[in-house]
């Protein structure tokens, strides 16, 4: 198992935002996390990525316990993420955004940087090629010297994804990557996620666009009121009466 989450709980005051959720994920698949608004999807993401500390339960990634770790440590362990709201470094260039994504992979420390040593120079030169390669991957190579804030909305979403990929993660968490995209961009996103998978990166995405989710996910987790309602293949989920009820409301029952 790449990621194994057991009995994860988190409360905000009286509200149980995540209530005894257990999931397991294998390497090399696309997973999707769905649920009605307020089901606790983003909270769950924030728990995995270390933004929130769970009240109880365990998160084991690649044999390593991650619960209670800080976000930068989670990134170091090999989980990268994108954000629901675009969270780029707007006044940095596109290239520098990707370079920040590589932060944990760079060995030069303060002293090497301060004295601009040979090894530090070599390392800096090497990451430019890698960054360009990643930018070419999503078609942003021509924009590498533009400021991230000057990119179009769709391009900013793509940059978020490559910035996350720059840390060479084993697992990437995509928080509503299709939000605000038009139908052409959504088709491209579909292709892109397949390409990410082909690079050996496991994908977990939160998404409202059911067409995209059903199309791309190998396995779906459904959350409702902070609890896991169901899981299974897209076909199983589509025909699960509990899921239909959660989405359409109790009145839909015959």
């Amino acid at each position: 198992m790449l990621l194994e989450i057991k009995n994860l709980c988190l409360s905000f005051g009286g509200l149980k935002a995540t209530n005894d959720v257990s999931i397991a994920m294998e390497e090399g698949k696309v997973y999707a996390l769905i649920g009605p608004n307020g089901a606790g999807k983003t909270t769950f993401f924030n728990l995995i990525s270390g933004v929130y500390k769970p009240d109880s339960g365990t998160i084991t990634f690649d044999g390593q316990r991650l619960d209670g770790k800080r976000p930068y440590q989670v990134n170091e362990a090999g989980i990268a993420r994108t954000y629901q709201v675009i969270n780029l470094f707007k006044k940095m260039t596109v290239l520098d955004n990707v370079k920040v994504g590589m932060h944990t992979k760079l060995k030069s420390g303060f002293i090497q940087s301060m004295f601009h040593t040979k090894s530090q120079q070599a390392e800096e030169a090497a990451i430019i090629d890698k960054a360009m390669d990643l930018l070419a991957f999503v078609g942003l190579k021509n924009h590498m010297n533009d400021l991230a804030g000057d990119l179009s909305y769709g391009q900013q979403r793509l940059l978020e994804i490559v910035r996350a990929m720059a840390s060479e993660p084993k697992l990437i968490l995509l928080d509503e990557p299709a939000a605000g995209m038009n139908s052409t961009e959504k088709v491209e996103l579909n292709v892109l996620i397949r390409k990410i998978l082909a690079r050996g990166i496991t994908v977990l995405l939160v998404e409202h666009d059911m067409k995209l989710v059903m199309n791309i996910a190998d396995h779906i987790f459904v959350l409702n009121h902070g609890q896991k309602l169901a899981e299974g293949s897209p076909l199983e989920i589509q025909n699960n009466p509990k899921v239909i009820e959660a989405y359409l409301g109790g009145g839909a029952k015959k």
């Binding site: 990134n75 303060f110 004295f115």
Partner: protein, 332 residues
Amino acid sequence: MKSLAKKQNNKLITSIAVAAILLLLPIILSVTGNSYSILVLGFIIIYIIAVSGLDVNFGYCGQISMGHAAYYCIGAYGSVMLHHYFGIPVIITMILASILAAVLGAIVAFPASKLVFHFLSLSTIAFAEIVYTLVLNSPGKITGNAVGMFTDPINIFGYTLRSNTAFYYFGLVVCAVFLLVKWFLVKSKIGRAWIAIRENEDAAEGMGVNVVKYKVMAFAFSAFYTGFAGAMYAHLVNYIGPDTFTMKQSVMFITMMLFGGTGSILGPIIGSMFILLMTESLRVLEQYQMLVFGVILLAVVLAFPGGILGVVKDVIKKIKLKKGGVKNVVRN
């Protein structure tokens, strides 16, 4: 390729010209019988170092410090007292005092790294007040309290920098080294992490940047620069008293930084030069200094937030855009 070679050639010629002017400046000034001006040049260098340090903290890492006079003070008193009480050679005391400033900067930064903008500025003011009060009312009057302390000139391996001209050349070298190191750092992984924190703290942390560590690092680095500037000041003027290290000094640093332009190498140079020359030429208005600074700060924040450098960059950008295409616009 040809234009690249030409560009590098132009750069080389410019740097040689600048170096020549800087080296010859004291000679020109002494020929014209203006020796006080050489002292002013020394002050400008000191301020460039102090403000460059402050800029790392604010311009790059996005942490405001309204109390950098504290580190200036620690550098100055630290160096003078280490020399006075323990007989350590002055150049070594300057480095030791700057390290002390950096350590204290880190200690302040650690809890402060969790604070947002306005609370951070308050805590830095509080720390500066503590340092000022301690210097003014030291136990056993070890700082000379209100009377202050006399200082010895800088001594480098037996050579004493007695004249302002000697200090100027020493300062020039130190300043060049400090600016070069700052340049290397801000262009490295460290600098990128600092800017990322300034731009978006949550995303920086999510990308694997240990935000607390890098914030503390920026603060300590910044305090080291300002501390060293303080030590240089102390050994240049032969006497230090607590009055130099009040809130007014911190405001002066901030005014210089914002006026010149933040997050750059050139900004602090321009800002320090301009503001210092202005205060020197407006000596008559000394009691209104804070008022003048206030007006400048307001003008900068409201009208041109990028400082002088930002205005110049905008103008160059516009000219280049007119000349040919967006592609040729050079950023930074």
